[in-house]
């Protein structure tokens, strides 16, 4: 093998690791070039959404299910951390993981009966679950602070190092986002990931190959809920304040739209989806007022023309064309 071939072989063999390393390096350097707190605030918000969308993409994109209620788990994580740290005065880090465990149990309780459903029914069930959680946040004001929100949540800290400005939060939040990405990328490259892809393709076939479809669905649902819960805890500690508005059904549909924009079953697409949807309102003023309307329009257009999602759909169109051209060239 020549050196060039060796390098190419190394790249194809380790392309996932290399992409992750490159992306991490870019993120480490980013605050050196961009120190505007407003911009960093936006990219930090993207990091939080990346954690949720990566988890949700495993459930929607890989396992082929639908959830329109993930803002509920996001909100439970946020309020859970808020109540644990402020009301009960517990330390922040253990609370975050304790809350994630509780949210996993909630997801299990919700998932076992609802994941017997599929398609529209599953969408409705998860949506309903979101409405219940949102209503509790609004109405149970002795505990949640009601519509006016829950203030005074402490920032996270390690030792004496407090994550209280945008640059510090940048490193904290993106570390979590990268971890989520890495875990998801590992998962989809494993036998379990292929089992999920099989499940999305055809449940009968997946079962005939020995995949316990019901169990696999529940596991991924719980996993995505845990991702959302961690993101919620980070959200609460990052803004020091939570209110029910951030966790209504429109937040849930936005998450699903991020998955679709990024591409079904594309882990990197999740980053793009979360990024685009967070930045769009900043780029175009009209988005501010008609956000939900325009998000709906984006969803409809993508599902009509690129049902695999924007990024995956475009990518597949291009690779299919290349394959066809190669086959033609080979034939002629």
């Amino acid at each position: 093998m020549s050196i060039k071939e060796k390098i190419l072989y190394f790249i194809t063999l380790h392309h996932t690791g290399l992409t992750v390393s490159g992306f991490s390096l870019a993120l480490v350097l980013f605050p050196l070039f961009e120190d505007n707190p407003y911009t960093l605030g936006l990219t930090n918000l993207i990091a939080i959404y990346v954690i949720i969308v990566v988890g949700l993409n495993l459930f929607i994109g890989y396992a082929g299910q639908i959830s329109l209620g993930h803002a509920a788990f996001f909100g439970l994580g946020a309020y859970g951390s808020a109540i644990a740290t402020v009301t009960f005065g517990l330390p922040a880090w253990p609370s975050m993981f304790g809350v994630a465990v509780l949210v996993a149990l909630v997801a299990l309780l919700v998932g076992v009966p609802t994941l017997r459903l599929s398609g529209h029914y599953l969408a409705m069930a998860t949506l309903g679950c979101n409405i219940v959680v949102h209503t509790i946040m609004l109405q149970w004001d002795q505990v949640t602070g009601g519509p006016s929100g829950f203030p005074g949540i402490p920032s996270l800290s390690i030792g004496g190092f407090v994550f209280d400005d945008e640059v510090r939060l940048h490193y904290l939040l993106w570390s979590f986002a990268l971890l989520a990405l890495l875990l998801a990328l590992n998962l989809v490259r494993s036998g379990v990931g292929r089992g999920l892809a099989a499940l999305a393709g055809d449940e009968t076939a997946a079962a005939a190959l020995g995949v316990d479809t019901q169990r696999a669905k529940i596991k991924v649902f719980v996993l995505s809920a845990v991702f959302a819960s961690i993101a919620g805890s980070l959200f609460a500690h990052c803004y020091n304040f939570v209110s029910p508005d951030s966790f209504d059904i429109f937040a849930s549909t936005d998450m699903a739209i991020m998955v679709v924009v990024g591409g079904m079953g594309s882990i990197w697409g999740s980053v793009i989806g979360a990024g685009l949807l967070t930045l769009l309102p900043e780029w175009i003023d009209i988005f501010e007022n008609y956000k939900d309307l325009i998000h709906g329009l984006i969803l409809v257009l993508i599902l009509m023309f690129l049902p695999q999602g924007l990024m995956t759909g475009l990518y597949e169109k291009i690779t299919d064309k290349i394959t066809l051209r190669r086959q033609k060239n080979a034939a002629s």
Partner: protein, 254 residues
């Protein structure tokens, strides 16, 4: 190896299978034939747990299959192909075959997410096995293509490769040559013969009489959900009941 005893299946009031009994001996090829609507696919679906029989019992290696979930039956060592191809078009040929090794790839999400060295090692071994099978089925050069871009005959072979890769005790083939041209049929027939000489137990549902007569050790004939004949290809060919129900029709149309 596989024993069916008086298996019956009703859809509402309609009997699709009625008291079907036969055995699939180890290392032999058993062919299941019968006219359209005879209940062949229903029977395959009952064995694999997609459907549950209304009456009777199905035993595999002294285990009761009736009432078990499809994935549990698959894990006992029964692989199958489908009449209308159930491949995963977006996955590559290699990944499709690798799904056939789902039972061995591990089920733990946590382990998979941590990608521990032992899993990576296992993953490499599974990949090698899959490539070996692809080689055997002349698909090695297509292993990276998405299955959706393949020709129909190639897709049929990928499905067969996926069923073989885990080296199951028993493979159920639901019309493996349906829709293939003569050349492709011959090549699949060749592959089935190779499997048989390697000692693989097969249960074959097929309309192609030439293929069935050439490969089967035992033929079971279904008609309107009843088992009307059973025996070697030669015996079945000369059974007047069979001639009337099935071969007779073919002669009439030929």
């Amino acid at each position: 190896m596989l024993h069916l005893e008086e298996v019956g299946k009703r859809f509402g009031g309609l009997p699709a299978l009625d008291q079907v009994s036969f055995s699939v001996p180890r290392g032999q090829v058993t062919a299941l034939i019968g006219p359209n609507g005879a209940g062949k696919s229903t029977l395959i679906n009952c064995i694999t747990g997609v459907l549950h029989p209304t009456t009777g019992s199905i035993r595999f290696l002294d285990r009761q299959l009736t009432g078990q979930a499809a994935y549990a039956i698959a894990r006992l060592g029964i692989a199958r192909t489908f009449q209308n191809l159930k491949l995963f078009p977006r996955l590559s040929v290699l990944d499709n075959v690798l799904t056939g090794l789902s039972c061995e790839a591990g089920h733990s999400l946590t382990m998979a997410m941590l990608r521990l060295p032992y899993l990576r090692h296992r993953e490499r071994q599974l990949k090698l096995r899959a490539l070996e099978v692809l080689d055997r089925f002349d698909l090695a050069d297509k292993s990276r293509l998405p299955v959706g871009t393949l020709a129909y005959g190639d897709k049929k072979r990928v499905e067969l490769a996926r069923a073989c890769v885990a080296e199951p005790e028993l493979i159920l083939l639901d019309e493996p040559v349906a829709g293939l041209n003569a050349e492709e049929t011959a090549s699949v027939g060749e592959q089935l013969k190779q499997l048989r000489s390697a000692g693989q137990t097969l249960l074959l549902v097929e309309h192609d009489m030439e293929l069935v007569m050439g490969i089967a050790d035992q033929v079971v004939v279904l008609d309107s959900g009843c088992c009307i004949a059973r025996g070697t290809p030669a015996e079945v060919r000369n059974n007047p009941l069979v001639l009337e129900a099935y071969l007779g029709q073919m002669e009439a149309t030929a």
